[in-house]
Symmetry: C2
């Protein structure tokens, strides 16, 4: 195999109570990427459609992630990448992670899978470092492992794949404004109150239990973020209204996707996910900011080969 075409899923990081440690992958929102072997030991980005992003290897997240892989590989050649970019930069649903994760996953396939998923996450994190000045893993881990993924530790990277209840659907509204991840991080304090911490880890424990127990009600009760959402949500037009309405129509919970501006809700069943999507559209139509709405199952596979 010298060429592979992959689907690179969009991802929702944080998932309310799992700041920097939790993310989930989407099934029907993502990029496409074609990666082929080339004789020269280099990464060449030959074509990007859909977004205006740099073709220079060192300035492109997939290029940087690919170089990290090449540096650890004994493969004497390199790779050429074509990206069909469907996820907008700065949307908050893991645009950079999709490219980083997709690139290294595809390269690993072409090389006969010499690297573990954990190693692929480490390579892809180099792309995240370029994109947001922080090598966070809460988008690239679910992009590579699929489903929900927990980053237990960054010190010695430890990714724990979590189970995904079968009827869990995510609805995402992406207001067409851009919030840069590093800007959105700068407004956060570097300390939190002990009381907030206790709330946060109680809820994360509840959410993870809910995933293991297929307990949608418990998942819903746990989807709270008392620390970051109140600060970051002021940057997102209509956040409170979208959230209130989504929960009123029946969403399990609703919060900021990653660092925003996208807002996500989780629901039990596709029908409810669609009702939440309709509610989000209705709310945003009144606000006057252009938007896109996505409805997706949770993707349990991660990046996948499509050709």
């Amino acid at each position: 195999m010298t060429e592979i075409k992959v689907f690179c899923p969009a991802t929702i990081a944080n998932v309310s109570c799992g700041f920097d440690v939790l993310g989930l992958a989407l099934e029907s929102v993502g990029d496409f990427m074609t990666v082929r072997k080339i004789p020269e030991k280099t990464i060449r980005i030959s074509r990007i459609v859909g977004q205006n992003l740099p073709l220079e290897t060192e300035k492109n997240v997939s290029g940087v992630a690919g170089l990290a892989l090449l540096a650890k590989s004994d493969y004497v050649g390199g790779f050429e990448i074509e990206i069909d970019k469907r996820i907008k930069s700065g949307s908050g649903i893991g645009s950079s992670a999709a490219s980083s994760a997709g690139a290294v996953w595809a390269m690993n396939e072409l090389l006969g899978k010499p690297f573990s998923k954990l190693e692929l996450v480490e390579f892809a994190m180099q792309g995240e470092l370029l994109a947001s000045d922080m090598a966070h893993a809460d988008n690239v881990a679910p992009a590579i492992y699929g489903g929900f993924a927990l980053v237990r530790s960054y010190d010695s990277l430890d990714i724990i794949p979590l189970p995904t209840p079968a009827e869990l659907y995510a609805t995402v509204i992406h207001p067409q404004i851009e919030i840069n991840t590093s800007d959105s991080r700068k407004i956060l304090r570097t300390s939190i109150s002990l009381a907030q911490g206790i709330q946060q880890w109680g809820n994360l424990g509840g959410l993870i239990s809910g995933l293991y127990q297929n307990d949608y009600n418990l998942i819903g009760r746990s989807l709270h973020d008392h620390i970051f959402e109140p600060i970051r949500s002021v940057l997102i037009p209509g956040f409170d209204e979208v959230k209130t309405n989504a929960i009123e129509v029946g969403a399990l919970g609703c919060g900021i996707s990653g660092s925003g501006p996208s807002i996500f809700a989780l629901s039990k069943g596709k029908h409810m996910g669609q009702r939440v999507a309709d509610s989000m559209k209705e709310t945003y139509s009144k606000i006057g900011v252009p938007f896109q709405v996505h409805l997706s199952k949770v993707n349990t596979q991660g990046v996948k080969k499509i050709a």
Copy 2:
């Protein structure tokens, strides 16, 4: 049934990464309590052996917890309590929780179980409030539910029982010095760094996943407390040495039980738990502080009827 005798388990709160939200119950360490119906609508503590504790209802944690139950009950009579106190006050293994939880659990049995476990935890928390100026639930919840119990939320009390891997053993060393829970809390800061918070909730997520997956290695990797242990452990003679040695002989992890001074370790299998107990004894013999060591399976039943 007009009289019941119960076993009231000792408990380990926090379990390293679950400050204020996680606890586990022990099988072979605990108090005994006899509760009988009396015609007067009051709680009378007729006898306490083993510890010098107040017999006055309002000054005794089981009395206060019992009064909380009586206040919500339509039962026209009251209860008399005899306590055979084996867990020392201020030991850090839930002495007050055992009395509070045992009392209300026994009363509920005698009344034909009108109250849910969650309600019993709420009553027992009144005992905790008396004992430590804080109505925490991370000892009384596992005492009543058994096994590991997560306090997802205090705002609207939400207890999540967690699975207990069958071969999990706890070893506890209790240095015979007393640390008051409220004193041990006063030395903690009211804020933590964001970086510490992220480590803590990553580890709690990992520990809970480990319990669900029966993954002893993951449980061990998650048993870290970077926030409170460095502060509280200075009050515990030989803490670092006990911990280092316990992990060296094969414990999965080791930390402070509740607010101390007891130190706990978790191990896979009774044989390993015993090795850890031997290591703790050896370490403490050199320190010159009197101590007790307990080895116990995790109790999956909580308070239980023995006669």
